[in-house]
């Protein structure tokens, strides 16, 4: 049995539990193939660390200067949560709540005393009809209008609905 590179990598970087760690440790004492792979992985790790130390850079002082410059240009701003909290101060919250309540009251029909009035009043329509009927009484055959509008209360409510129908007065 041999261990694969991933498992040996985890072993090399101490990422395994005590039991598999001990098993691999014992296995590497006897298995030359696994030992060779392990040594190769360790060599890569050492190469990375050595190269990293060799390529280490000093902290440029220009960064510090630029950070302070940016901070002076853009000082600390209150966070969004802070700005939201500030809105809840009574001085602002009470008028805002009153305005919202006003909108809600006006926006819901029925809350403030009945339905909206129609755009044109019924009496206006009746008056208009009466004016038309006086010019041409047959213009609106079949329409029901109050008798008082047409003939001052002498005619029936039905105008021209059925001219041939027997009348009690005939």
């Amino acid at each position: 049995m041999h261990y694969n590179a991933d498992t040996l990598d985890d072993y090399l970087h101490r990422a395994l539990g005590p039991e598999p760690d001990a098993d691999i440790h014992a296995h590497l004492e006897t298995c030359t193939d696994c030992r060779a792979l392990y040594d190769e992985l360790a060599a890569v790790r050492d190469w990375v660390r050595t190269a990293a130390r060799a390529e280490e850079l000093e902290f440029p002082s220009i960064i510090k200067a630029r950070v302070w410059e940016r901070i002076r240009e853009q000082p600390l701003q209150p966070s969004f949560a802070d700005r939201l909290r500030a809105l809840w101060r009574p001085m602002i919250a009470v008028p805002v709540a009153a305005v919202i309540a006003g909108f809600v009251y006006l926006g819901i029909p029925g809350v403030h005393g009945g339905s909206q009035s129609p755009g044109v009043a019924a009496t206006y329509l009746l008056e208009e009809h009466a004016a038309l009927a006086s010019d041409n009484p047959l213009a609106d055959r079949g329409l029901i209008v109050p008798a008082s509008v047409v003939d001052g209360g002498q005619a029936s409510g039905l105008i021209g609905a059925d001219d041939s129908a027997p009348s009690s007065e005939r």
Binding site: A15, A51, A52, A54, E55, L57, F59, Q77, W88
Partner: protein, 191 residues
């Protein structure tokens, strides 16, 4: 209505001292970490600068008793990832539609290679060159594990992913790095 709270405080001497001490103690480590991720000094300077500005603005969210270096590495990692996404998006917008992504030297599409090519030209040492061959996530995980020597759990916390993700990224990255290092050693045996 909630209980009135005190308004946000203006910048204090405390914040200033916090940042000053942070740059003094961790400036070099942060800059080197940024350099390993970006592969060139100009980008590393910008990234480090931005990270310390974030530190200043969010200094209250740092929990005393935890590792400052882990905290700032998390900031640098996130900033770097965001910046690369922005850059790659810009490159992809400039590529005409008929230029479909192609395989080039591995699994990377041609559309994002100008960034990698530019970075490879800017790199100095052999490690920087080897790291430039890895993807962003692989580079981050290798630097944290093999250079900074963090545990898998710490890396998962810094990168904001699961240990399983860290482990699989590390395995792929190390396998690739092993090939690159062996090639490098064959080409330059003295190094």
């Amino acid at each position: 209505m909630g209980v009135p709270r005190k308004p946000p405080e203006p910048p204090t001497q405390e914040a200033t001292e916090f940042l000053e001490r942070a740059m003094e103690q961790y400036g070099k480590a942060t800059y080197n970490f940024a350099y390993r991720l970006t592969g060139n000094e100009a980008d590393a300077r910008d990234l480090t600068q931005e990270a310390f500005i974030r530190v200043y603005r969010a200094w209250r969210s740092f929990q005393p008793g935890t590792s400052f270096l882990s905290w700032i590495y998390r900031i640098v990692t996130n900033l770097h990832r965001d910046e690369l996404r922005r850059q790659k998006g810009r490159f992809q917008e400039e590529i005409p539609e008929d230029n479909a992504p192609q395989e080039y030297g591995g699994s990377k599409p041609l559309a994002v290679d100008p960034v990698e090519d530019y970075m490879a030209e800017q790199l100095g040492g052999p490690l920087a060159k080897a790291l430039s061959q890895l993807s962003t996530d692989q580079r981050q995980v290798i630097v944290l594990a093999d250079v900074e020597e963090y545990s898998y759990q710490e890396i998962a916390d810094i990168m904001g992913c699961s240990i399983g993700t860290v482990r699989s990224r590390l395995h792929r990255a190390r396998a690739l790095l092993r090939r690159l290092v062996i090639r490098e050693q064959q080409q330059h045996p003295e190094s």
